[in-house]
């Protein structure tokens, strides 16, 4: 599979508000192939929803400015005129929203809303569209679709409404389905049903799925690849297994360690991420995560890291100023149940005593030596180019 279905290149979305410019999405790039699932993980305000709404051309508001490219089948959705975009939206690319109750019109029967989705894009008659609506309800596992098609949204339960939303999204057999927090409002039992349904439909219809969520459990179950977003940027991107077994970014560590797991010891202390997500108007200097990062060094407050490949982990990239060796050591420490402060003392604050670190952790002598050298060298490959371009870039945008 060489040609990606969707390719997002350096997408930037800014909203001009009374308080200043909100940098909702700040230069993200990703691509997704046919039949694959990409999970986008992040907290509220990390830009994950804005980036997907932009893909559908739904952020084109009068105060937003959008730069970059979103290539779908070789055509750029950002510069595409509205009438052409309409032909793609709901047809080739469809979306499922978080709250199924407010996304369905309460006044119209479910069947009518499903038919609308078909009639807009297909030259078919009403009878055929109605038959398709029944077929769609059946496809998403709603019992007795012939009766249900004539009911109103309030007659459906939360899980059933989400199934209706999925049916509507699938009406024209989209190539790409964007699911924005599709299970957040649902109970675990229903969530499991919906996730199983999405996976089943993906296999049968061969569509690609972008799933946006804050729940790492959900993405672990369903995604092939994961992008972790923080403050409008992708800070780490890899295949699902690498994200969970070799996470590289301190924010990803924070996410993984701050949620209790059914499989971890019950009395294990949770390690919260200190502070709170930054304002997207006055973003921090340097690395956006530095005010909350336990492993911050002085230069991290000035230098803005850019996404760079992780050595020895193909397809894995991270935007972090710590050296790969230090990152590996810290993650191993966290996995062993050690506290961030302790690891900070050992690997971040005391780079002048590398011998101790090297000896304490045998087999990582090479990276220990990396720690020994000066801070600039430690940051290494990932950031040399960054200091020149992006550091300046971010600084200027903030001031303006």
């Amino acid at each position: 599979m060489s040609e990606p279905l969707l390719e997002v290149k350096d997408l930037r979305v800014r909203f001009h508000t009374e308080d200043g410019v909100v940098h909702a999405v700040d230069g993200i790039s990703y691509s997704i192939e046919k039949g694959k699932t990409l999970g986008i993980v992040g907290e509220s305000g990390s830009g994950k929803s804005v980036s997907s709404l932009t893909t559908l051309g739904l952020t084109r508001r009068f105060r937003a400015s959008i730069d970059g490219q979103i290539l779908f089948g070789g055509r750029d959705l950002v510069s595409m005129p509205e009438d052409q975009l309409r032909k793609i939206r709901g047809n080739d690319i469809a979306m499922i929203f978080q709250d199924p109750l407010s996304s369905l019109h309460p006044f119209y029967k479910v069947g009518k809303q499903l038919m609308e989705a078909v009639l807009i894009h297909r030259p078919v008659g009403r009878a055929a569209a109605h038959a398709r609506a029944v077929e769609l309800l059946e496809l998403v596992g709603i019992p007795d679709p012939k009766t249900r098609v004539n009911q109103f949204p309030h007659e459906f339960s939360g899980g059933m409404r989400q199934r209706v939303m999925i049916a509507m999204a699938l009406a024209n057999e989209p190539k790409l389905l964007i699911a924005d927090e599709p299970t957040t409002a649902l109970d675990v039992t229903v969530q499991a049903q919906i996730l199983a349904l999405l996976q089943d439909l993906q296999q049968r219809l061969g569509m690609a799925i972008i799933i946006i969520t804050h729940d790492l459990g959900v993405v672990a179950e369903i995604s092939d690849d994961i992008a972790v977003m923080y403050a409008g940027r992708i800070v780490e991107r890899a295949d699902t297994e690498s994200i969970f077994t070799r996470p590289q970014h301190p924010y990803t560590w924070g996410l993984l360690k701050s949620i209790p797991l059914l499989t971890s010891p019950r009395d294990e202390e949770l390690v919260p991420i200190a502070g709170r997500p930054p304002s997207l108007i006055n973003r921090p200097s340097g690395c956006f995560f530095h005010p909350r990062c336990p492993y911050v060094r002085e230069e991290h407050k000035r230098v803005d890291p850019r996404l760079a490949p992780v050595p020895d982990s193909p397809g894995h990239s991270v935007a972090c100023l710590l050296s790969p060796g230090v990152r590996t050591q810290i993650w191993q420490g966290l996995e062993a149940g050690r506290q961030p402060e302790e690891l900070r003392h050992e690997y971040v604050e005391a780079p002048a005593v590398p011998a101790g670190a090297g000896v304490a952790a045998p087999g990582v002598a090479a990276s220990g030596a990396g720690v020994a050298s000066s801070g600039a060298a430690v940051t290494g490959v990932a950031t040399t180019e960054v200091t020149t371009t992006d550091g300046a870039d971010a600084g200027q945008e903030d001031e303006s």
């Binding site: 675990v188 969530q191 499991a192 297994e241 701050s258 209790p260 059914l262 709170r276």
Partner: protein, 384 residues
Amino acid sequence: MSVTGGALIEVRDLKKHFPIKQGIVIQRQIGAVKAVDGVSFDVHRGETLGLVGETGCGKSTTARLLVHLLVPTAGQVIFDGHDINTLGRDALKSLRREMQMIFQDPYSSLNPRKTVGSIIAEPFAVHGLLKGEGERKKRVQELMDRVGLNPEHYNRYPHEFSGGQRQRIGVARAIALEPKLLVADEPVSALDVSIQAQVLNLLRELQRDLGLTLIFIAHDLSVVRHMCDRVAVMYLGKIAELAPSDQLYGFPRHPYTGALLSAVPVPDPRGGKRERQLLTGDVPSPANPPRACRFHTRCPKAQQVCSEVEPVLEDKGTGSLAACHFPLTIEEVRLRLPNALAVPDQASSAAASSDNGGAAAGVPASTSGVPGSSPLPDSSSSST
């Protein structure tokens, strides 16, 4: 369930039915939503009891009944020896000092027009305590410091705080009167993932330091496991299973508990794909619950008797109370819930504490309890 000396609260056959009315001028009752329909349990001093279940199972209603924010249709809530439903107004007011609540939504549970200082001082005003201005301020600032808020923010308004900080304000207000009981109704579900841990850690710390009894309601089973000593699983207004956490998560007995656990997504792709035990359909309406065992319409193990005879909540031989005619056996748990038994120690401890499992003694107390690898005896399941 005899009355134990350690019980702070004894709940006996508690019911809350909300009437469904018809008519505009002359209303008559045409039915009732049986939100809570006969639950009995004890809450021990100093413990954390979790209430879990799907939307509409009655967990929030139960919590509100416990602190007398709702008046029950029938049944008793005995708090520290007093039946709170028979108390007079004054006695109830003084008892209310002992029980406080933290709400789900930190945005709507704080008055936006009051300063944080006066919000946290409200309980003192209500109960006529700490009348002196300076005295009250000093205490409020101590409380703010205690929950991790900056005491200098005394005069700020709720909108100046983030969601996590607002929840801390709610916690400070709840602990102001040094209650014995704290009821937390979904305290973290409105918060961002990275903030949740901060509030959970705070609650645990406060409980340890202040000796609080905590009732913790959540729909997130992993969070409940992390926080609670014992867990009650509710389904359609009744308790399906009540067990110590390790027991409940290691060896669930009620098929509903099993289904809930099996539905939890595991953020670890190394576990491999599991064969899920998916519940079909939705929770039936509590206005018209199924007869006998309320779970029989969705239960994978349901038989004829389940729709005829209501099972009672009783000890199933492993220290778990479950209301089920055909509780899960260890083999079924092993097949359907590999992640439950993957929890170290629990499989073996569940089997070892089994009353009838003479063979259970032969189970090696391996800490690795990997599914399939531990030679659990076939006879370890209790006979019904």
